[in-house]
């Protein structure tokens, strides 16, 4: 299946969203990502049983941090999809890219003078 999704999105693959650490998410923003989404298996379907539930907690914690430090928690989101939902994945990436475009470049990239066009990161 060939699906089109915006080219300014960088995909970082991990074996399970349980591998996604708070520091990975924070560093993405420190390096200037405009937005990050974490895409895990459906709840109850994680191959390592609870990886996506841990990821959800970490995502929520980082959203809270981003809000408090003035970057904005709305730049980070988590989605749960099955491997058969490629179409939905492409749709989510399009939606999130649009949302990030509306929000504009991250204040980190603006402040460090690296703002040229939005960058979004996706972790699967």
């Amino acid at each position: 299946m060939r699906l089109q999704y915006p080219p300014n999105v960088r995909i970082i693959e991990v074996p399970c969203t349980g591998k996604v650490d708070i520091m990975h998410l924070l560093m993405a923003f420190e390096y200037g990502a405009d937005g990050v989404i974490v895409v895990g298996c459906l709840e109850g379907d994680c191959h390592y049983s609870a990886g996506n539930l841990y990821a959800k907690k970490r995502v929520n914690r980082v959203k809270e941090i981003l809000d408090k430090v003035g970057v904005g928690g709305e730049r980070l989101a988590m989605y749960n999809l099955s491997s058969g939902m490629g179409g939905r994945f492409a749709e989510i990436v399009r939606e999130i890219t649009e949302k990030i475009m509306e929000l504009g470049p991250s204040p980190i990239r603006v402040a460090t003078g690296k703002a040229t066009g939005p960058i979004a990161e996706v972790t699967t």
């Binding site: 708070i22 520091m23 924070l26 420190e30 408090k68 430090v69």
Partner: protein, 222 residues
């Protein structure tokens, strides 16, 4: 071990926002176990502060490190050559560690990064419960290994009181009655006769009496 929780980020931000060089120091001891102040938490806090300063358009140097224990001079001394660089330090150790660091680095501003709570156990990851109040004269031998000081809400020595209801304490139905626990354990051990004679008044002079407590172990000192 000592249990602590991270301070709210806004509280730490409020303290350090006017500095430009801040060091976050974790402790690899107790606070690492309860995930409040180890290297991991030091990294997260440092990253959050860097994001804050960067988005505010402020040049700042925020670094993180962690020491084996902050309640020992030898480990605190490991910071001596870099301490001069920083305007302020956030210590993620328990209150003992924060104070000991402040004592060693007398002219440095040191902020606590955690709220130190109690001596407790890890019932589960993320669930810590008080077990001991460091009274200085342990009576667990008489009470079936369950501490009435820490686990009876009224610290009664001859419980339970009339507020014990179906195994729960009257102050909150989610809190087990310490004395019910003691009774059940003594029953299991076949030691219910302990209830037949009252426990003598406790010597509280070893507790919070007479100011800060000190242990002098001549057998260990040179």
């Amino acid at each position: 071990m000592i249990k602590a929780v991270p301070k709210p980020l806004e509280e730490v931000l409020g303290q350090v926002k006017d500095f430009t060089k801040v060091l976050i120091v974790g402790c690899d001891g107790c606070v690492t176990v309860c995930e409040a102040g180890g290297m991991k938490e030091a990294k997260v806090l440092a990253s959050a502060l860097r994001l804050y300063f960067t988005q505010a358009g402020k040049q700042a140097q925020i670094d993180e490190t962690s020491l084996t224990r902050q309640c020992e001079k030898e480990y605190l001394a490991q910071l001596s050559d870099k301490m001069d660089i920083y305007d302020a330090v956030v210590s993620l150790a328990c209150g003992c560690g924060v104070q000991y660091m402040a004592e060693m680095y007398n002219n440095k501003i040191i902020y606590p990064g955690v709220d130190t709570c109690f001596l407790g156990v890890n019932e589960e990851r993320g669930l810590y419960v008080e077990r001991c109040q460091a009274c200085g004269r342990c009576i667990l031998a008489e009470t079936g290994g369950i501490c009435p000081i820490a686990r009876c809400s009224k610290r009664m020595l001859n419980g339970p009181c009339g507020g014990s209801d179906a195994g729960k304490c009257e102050i909150n139905k989610d809190i087990p009655c310490g004395w019910e626990l003691i009774y059940e354990r003594l029953k299991t051990l076949g030691q219910l006769d302990r209830f037949e004679k009252p426990v003598d008044p406790k010597d509280w002079s070893t507790s919070r009496d007479g100011g800060p407590r000190t242990i002098v172990r001549e057998d260990l000192r040179i």
